[in-house]
Subunit: 471 residues, 2 copies
């Protein structure tokens, strides 16, 4: 006998949790589709040479390789077999780049796609960090160019989704890499690599605090002057409190600039993003300018985003992304600029569950038809068929047992309604409907059962029952 | 520059095809949920010792193993590294067995689950055979026992799904392994292994024809008497033409029996399945008894199913399954009998596409808001937000360009409606709506735009337009 167990670093859910997870996936998908993004899926594995063109050693060490038994045997027979031919994707961005480059001539640009699939990273397992996890990405890919207006669409759809997820207030935070780059140049930090490493240090402000970051930047490794560091920390301390405040901050930053054209471009892009966000009706309380956001990845070149839950800042960013100049330079000569955001749903779900924000979900099963007496099974089955044809998710108890036990099962499973067909009901051609949430019960004519349950299911639970169907 | 390409044996779709595929997934999920099945997902990979407990060499040769770089290095350093620690699932049945055994005490039995995920097999790539493909499974798992009534639920939900998929007439074919086993015993073929191999030969009737199978069975390898083979072929030639005919065939088989109790049990189980199928309202034209169905797998012990498309018999079975005595004997001492069916969606989709049955799907995008003049972009964005809040999937053109080009894009992408906000519309506070399918156009008051488009979208395309909103 083998002990049944999942591999380390994977999250497997019981059905009630899976339903809650699936509802989040559905909300995300619905939001992405509402904004006109098209679905794609890519294979879980890519050819290793295609997947690992761009990445350095850090990523490669986290990659999972895939081998059939045949190639294992071949590899064992060789002295230096090299890397296996196939590898599991570690994000959805490299597969997107490969997809767009491969199918470039059959896609319309700007290409707006969403993709919600699992990715794989050989990370050290720890609480809330998984080796297999869902990413739910949107990206808009232009050909040769892409208006900064698109940079407003990503936070707008994310706003819709986080509103619909109903997990409390959140703030989408915006910054722009060009603004930061210009500011650096104004301060005499002109070398790109130094800007990147300084940005990385600044990125740690939330974790290390400004004092520690100041010490690092004025210390031996960077050797920046104290006033330069102060100017920098003043900038990254800026957070807008309203839409107009954001615009005012941008004016001040531009006015204080020594005239860097790249800073001016960054400011202009952020202004356009803010304008389109407002025109799209995104409430100003739900977004802000936060000039400390740098994003760890080096390939962002314009707008960058992070999203935090106002009541759970400890969770950190739950949805991030940004603008990049060139999606697929490793696969095609076409210049494909893009902008995107990503929700790491497995981690978010785990965090929400830890924070007590994932409630016990109602079951996908809406009605249970219990079995009181085998003699009435045909009537129960016919009722179930009518309910199902009426679009109601229905389970019939086929094995029988005591009614109390069947009701208890429905209650524990989160099934809200029980539709009883027993001796009395068959004689009177009725159905008795129990609402386990409201602890309410009523009897309707058999032919009214579907309509009646559809009305009940369409009513939000908070509303009082109108009693017209009462027994 | 690396040539962007997918790994061999994978199916990757363009967005329009992906939408069609996703609609099929949605229909299947909706059907499974309508019948009260609960969702689960399992990790793509399992621990190798957990995954490969039961399987023989045939399966192992098709398994994909998963290794991080670290474990590759370790494996290379050893003389005989053995199998890697992780392996990709090759079906959803072994993960289900592991899941049920692992979470046994937190599940309610009968446990009714659906699972729609990709599985991996290192098969030789060939047309329509994929190494990565979706399986969409339902299973009902009992503890200690499970009424044969459940054996009717699987074909009933499959009936609903194939009706909703709208890919033409289909027939769900039923048989029972006990009936077959009893029949064999009556004929003096009492050894289980011989029954299995003879069943395998019989399973080839559709491919090889009855004559070739007869020759094999009377030949050296089996040495069965000609009259025994004839009786057997007469049996497996039986197909019912109606519900009553199916019951009559069962009566005849039982009457002709030499008294095998196992045959009688098989007949009784099939009778119960047929009764429940009728009580569930499944039309008798959509199922039949087909005593040639054996299913290749040895672990089925009762009811077995295959599903064929009436107009495309060449496709073979598109949904199969059956009853098994013991799901998870390798993981638990609990006896867990079950019954299930599986749709191999990737292969089915490919076959339907080859047969011309996958049409050009309407886009998930329902309305395109083109950009005629940058000056009216705020109005376009506000309209898009209203439409989206009204549940309508809407894309706004942010980059501009000629209207003709934007309309052409909508048409090619399968977007049905275009909602135009230009100079005239802004002045009159209206929206002009083009229906690209009906080649129709009308103008509505701005505040009526959402309601009007919702009405249009709710109407099936076949109905004539009522003209009340005409310009």
């Amino acid at each position: 006998m083998i002990k049944p167990r999942t591999a380390p670093g994977t999250l497997e859910l019981l059905p009630t949790e899976q339903i809650a997870f699936q509802r989040m996936l559905d909300v995300i998908r619905s939001g992405y589709e509402r904004f006109g993004f098209l679905p794609i899926e890519t294979p879980a594995y890519e050819l290793t040479d295609v997947l690992l063109t761009k990445t350095g050693g850090e990523t490669e060490r986290q990659v999972y390789f895939v081998q059939s038994t045949g190639s294992l045997d071949k590899a064992a027979a060789q002295e230096d077999p090299g890397l296996p031919e196939l590898a599991l994707r570690f994000d959805l961005t490299v597969p997107l780049a490969r997809y767009v480059a491969e199918h470039e001539h059959r896609l319309t640009f700007p290409f707006r796609r969403y993709q919600m699939q699992r990715v794989y990273r050989g990370e050290r397992p720890q609480r809330g960090r998984y080796r297999e996890f869902y990413q739910c990405d949107i990206d808009i890919i232009g050909k040769d160019g892409l208006s900064p207006r698109h940079d407003a669409e990503c936070p707008a759809v994310i706003h819709t989704i986080f509103t619909d997820l109903d997990i409390g207030a959140f703030t989408i935070q915006l910054n722009n890499r060009k603004l930061m780059r210009g500011f650096f140049e104004d301060l005499g930090i002109t070398e790109a690599q130094q800007q990147v490493t300084v940005l990385r240090e600044i990125d740690k402000i939330d974790k290390r605090g400004p004092e520690a970051v100041r010490d690092t930047l004025t210390g031996e490794a960077y050797g920046l002057a104290a006033d330069v560091v102060q100017t920098l920390l003043d900038l990254v301390g800026l957070r807008s409190t309203s839409h107009d405040d954001a615009l005012a901050i941008l004016d001040r930053v531009l006015a204080a600039s020594a005239g860097s054209p790249v800073l001016a471009t960054g400011v202009a892009e952020l202004r356009e993003v803010l304008t389109v966000l407002r025109d799209l009706g995104v409430p100003e309380s739900d977004y802000c300018l936060n000039l400390s956001i740098a994003r760890g990845l080096d390939y962002y070149t314009g707008t960058v985003y992070e999203t935090t839950l106002d009541e759970h800042p400890e969770i950190g960013s739950v949805c991030s992304g940004g603008r990049y100049d060139d999606l697929a330079g490793q696969y095609t000569k076409s210049r494909l600029p893009g902008v995107g955001m990503s929700i790491g749903l497995t981690r978010l779900f785990w965090q929400l569950r830890e924070a007590g924000l994932v409630g016990t979900a109602e079951s996908t099963v809406q009605v249970l038809v219990p079995q009181l007496d085998e003699a009435y099974l045909p009537q129960c089955l016919a009722l179930a068929t009518d309910l199902r044809q009426g679009g109601i998710n229905t389970e019939v108890v086929l094995d029988g047992g005591k009614l109390g036990k069947q009701l208890k099962y429905a209650d524990r499973a989160g099934i809200r309604f029980v539709a009883i067909v027993g001796e009395q009901e068959v004689a009177a051609d009725t159905v008795t409907i129990k609402d386990l949430r409201r602890q309410d019960q009523f009897t309707v004519a058999r032919e009214e059962a579907v309509r009646s349950l559809r009305v009940e299911l369409a009513q939000p639970l908070g509303l009082p029952h109108d009693g017209s169907d009462e027994d």
